[in-house]
Symmetry: C2
Subunit: 352 residues, 2 copies
């Protein structure tokens, strides 16, 4: 481990694992991303809100509680089976906003456009953003447009930031898991990531695998109306279900066990993962959530989720335990136990 | 003028001036930017907040009024005389938030990093963001990090979005100019843009010209404490004072006259503009504001501005008139009148 010292005498806090430069893995959602965020960004910018490391900041403004989040989208390709970068940008930020039970209301949209981008492609993207915003019931209220020279961006990058109103009846946080809680996933996993991967690789089954991109705020609303005992909730995007469960286990200092056979996955997605040698637990989702709920409310919540168009394949996939704190363990059908660790990087950059 | 029709039958609303693809000028803050924003983004996303076309959205949340804004920064070079992309990103968003009198409180930061960016450069940028945020009295509360392959970004792009609390005692809007109002600029113009241009061109006087990047919220606070009769306020960034005054004239349907000899400009900046053949009115500023104020309060406000560290070179540069509505006219020292139109594009992309 080395430290970098700047000319002004500041020591770079990043235990950069011998990297002097940014690696693709720093953006993968894996261990290098965590290191960069924890050791450089949070240590430098740190304050009581940021330090909580939720997907959305909860803020008090004149007595009101609001939530605030930001996400930049750099997905490649910009059009993929099941969606495009525009609706992904709307749905992704809506989902970050609602994962603590808040109601998403307003979004900003900031475009970075590459010189030479087809205006018809931009317009297609803009139209699907409008459609996604309408479906989620949010308004786009402010924006920004930058254009960079050809070769300084890849067609289009979109930042969406968002504001919502917090629901004071619930207390949902990655730090709130309790031993005995059940872990529910709202449907089949790995659809988005495998749609991107197979369409990028040009594999023949690419058209069969569709991204799951969708806004989950209406599903969350139904869930909260059912029970106020949801302890944690997050959408497992970069580095997938594995990353989210690891964050939960570490932030709440509990163990998590999951049953491999209970994890919902479409046969074609499973097949593609096997061909490409990828564990679907590490693959990004863009229309799924993981909820951690008190055991006595789990079955009821599961039925409500299954009755919703965005949760029909929901399953209870595991539980929170008192053993192996901070660690996620998967039990296979043969009874074998495997540690599900955070990967160093992801299989592929620019998944969202 | 042609229209583009998409496969789904939608007609592209952009009168694209015979461009099928995005041009650098679409991001310059000039006429092509206005066209893209007005005809595509606002027409598609339109709602009562967005349609106002202010630099910040004013939103009601449970009875509270908040402001919300977003800006992506793609400046080249990332380090320039007087600043770097990080402090620019903080100051720019703070300035957008406070230009209607609001108090900026919270920022989000989203990084797009190019593979190969030096970690020491990133850390320098992060440290100056922290310093700029502290100086402006705002907190960075949420963030995002993406990494793209080498050649798909130019080192680093930063989006900052921000939230503030609106001041209900003032009503500041680009639509509120009244005939007879005085126009004040808070200091020398064109410093930021000429710092970027000369450092990019490698001109020998580059070290003499420093960017003016700074947060103006404290200056705005002093101004509002002095008078509630500020009608409009904006920071003249892309396409400079010319773009801001044109926006004011059009949105308020009034004429604007400015006196060329009253416009403050540093001698070295003026010299560089002359050598490069650039009109400083069209050059970006990152630490200046233009305020439009009722005539009877102008002199008092000017003195307050000059007493503030961020406004010591403030000048009354013109007034709002009943003639030539929607048009900005500059009178030179020889009595010649020139129309100051919005440029089609700017001299140079990636100025902020």
């Amino acid at each position: 481990m080395r430290n970098i010292t700047l000319e002004n005498g500041f020591n770079c806090p990043l235990p950069i694992n011998n990297y002097d430069t940014i690696q693709l893995a720093h953006g993968s959602g894996g261990r290098l991303t965590s290191e960069l965020i924890d050791e450089m960004f949070v240590k430098t910018f740190g304050n009581e809100v940021l330090n909580k490391m939720e997907d959305q900041a909860s803020l008090k403004l004149n007595g009101n509680e609001i939530v605030f989040t930001t996400d930049s989208f750099v997905v490649d390709p910009i059009f993929f089976p099941g969606g495009n970068i525009g609706e992904l940008a709307i749905n992704g930020t809506v989902n970050d906003l609602c994962m603590n039970g808040a109601t998403p209301l307003y979004l900003s949209v900031a475009f970075i456009l590459e010189e030479g981008l087809k205006i018809s492609d931009l317009f297609s993207i803009v139209l699907s953003m409008k459609k996604a915003a309408d479906e989620a019931g949010v308004k786009i209220v402010t924006g920004d447009t930058k254009v960079v020279n050809k070769g300084q961006c890849d067609k289009i990058y979109i930042n969406t930031s968002g504001i919502g109103v917090r629901n004071s009846e619930v207390d949902i946080s990655a730090s709130n898991l309790k031993v005995g809680d059940k872990i529910i996933v709202s449907g089949t996993i790995a659809d988005h990531g495998m749609s991107i991967m197979t369409s990028r690789e040009g594999l023949s089954f690419q058209n069969d695998i569709m991204s799951d991109t969708v806004s989950l705020n209406d599903l969350v609303k139904s869930m909260i109306e059912t029970t106020k005992n949801i302890h944690a909730m997050r959408d497992p995007t970069r580095s997938g279900v594995a990353a989210t469960l690891n964050e939960f286990a570490k932030q709440s200092d509990v163990g998590i066990n999951i049953n491999a056979e209970k994890i919902p996955i479409k046969p074609n997605v499973k097949g593609a993962c096997e061909i490409l040698g990828i564990d679907p637990l590490f693959v990004a989702n863009e229309g799924k959530l993981i909820a951690v709920v008190a055991a006595e409310h789990a079955e009821n919540l599961l039925q409500i989720m299954r009755a919703h168009r965005c949760g029909k394949d929901s399953e209870i996939i595991g539980e929170v335990v008192n053993e192996h704190r901070g660690v996620v363990v998967k039990k296979t059908i043969l009874g074998v136990e495997q540690i599900v660790d955070l990967p160093l990087g992801e299989q592929l950059p620019r998944i969202c």
